[in-house]
Amino acid sequence: MKRALCLLTLWLATIACMAKGSQDFASKFMDQCKADTSVSCITVSPKMLEQLVKKTENNPDDANIRQAITKLKSMRVVTAPAEYFEKAEGLLKRNPQRFAKQDDYDSAQKRGVIYSRKNRHGDTVELILLHESMRTKTLTVVNVTGTIDEEFLCFLYNIKSF
């Protein structure tokens, strides 16, 4: 009986572990900064994103943003003091089997890096931006998950107007 109970517990624990799934980068980073009050995180859930899509249905000006949102499952935005840039990038760099660096930029007023993550099917499912502003001395982490395909990138690209 005891053995059966042990086995059952073990089995349930395994199921629970598997069901837990993985975390997005922002949440992992927040775990690292748990006690730190200077670091804050905003979460936008899949349900909220769906609401936003409906909300902008009739607004032609927001077409690119709306299209981009339809591809997303979640968004998290972390704000922290600028010094946290290395800490954040460190977490990405230490997991090369998970995150791949895409590009970076560096100017007098800002610097940033972009990382992505693919799932086991080879689809890009997560995109992370680390952006440091020298002017405001803050680090912003934008972390989205969803269908990060060419179409999404094109919508995203078109959001910024010159």
């Binding site: 943003i65 060419e150 990138l153 078109n158 959001i159």
Partner: protein, 174 residues
Amino acid sequence: MDYKYIEQLLERYFQCETTLQEEAILRAFFQQEDVPESLMPYRDLFVCQQQEALTAPLGDDFDERLLAIVGEKPQQEKARVVKLGSRLMPLFRAAAIVAIVLTIGNAAQFSLSPRNQNDDINYSEYTDTYDDPTVAYDQVEGALQLMSEGLIQSQRADTLSAGMRNNTDSLVRN
């Protein structure tokens, strides 16, 4: 690599449903070396358009002639460079977006380790910070704009140092 987006753009192009920017994307796409076999038939059409746009056979002597006719004295003017804010910009943006699409699409695959087998994120744990969709929308919009800027900034650094210099030179106006 999945060229579905380009194929969709092509279909829409022939249905006359594309925007100027999307057309610029197509032209930029077909400028690159590695056009996939299935899309090759369309390449020359877009390469031709690109080439035509750059033909500038009327030069200085034409200017001098015209200015003489209308009675203005031709000055010693420096070569005029097309400002980035004009026609060149859509082309630049299109080339950059093609670069982004190809880069992120071609990113190296990481090796599968047993830990990564269940990679699906557990969304049930997500609690919204804001209940008001209007506030949430503002946050999302701001974040996406920042991301958009970041993509563009990173591509600008790459593109400007590479191929775009050729295009800028050939568009120098006298």
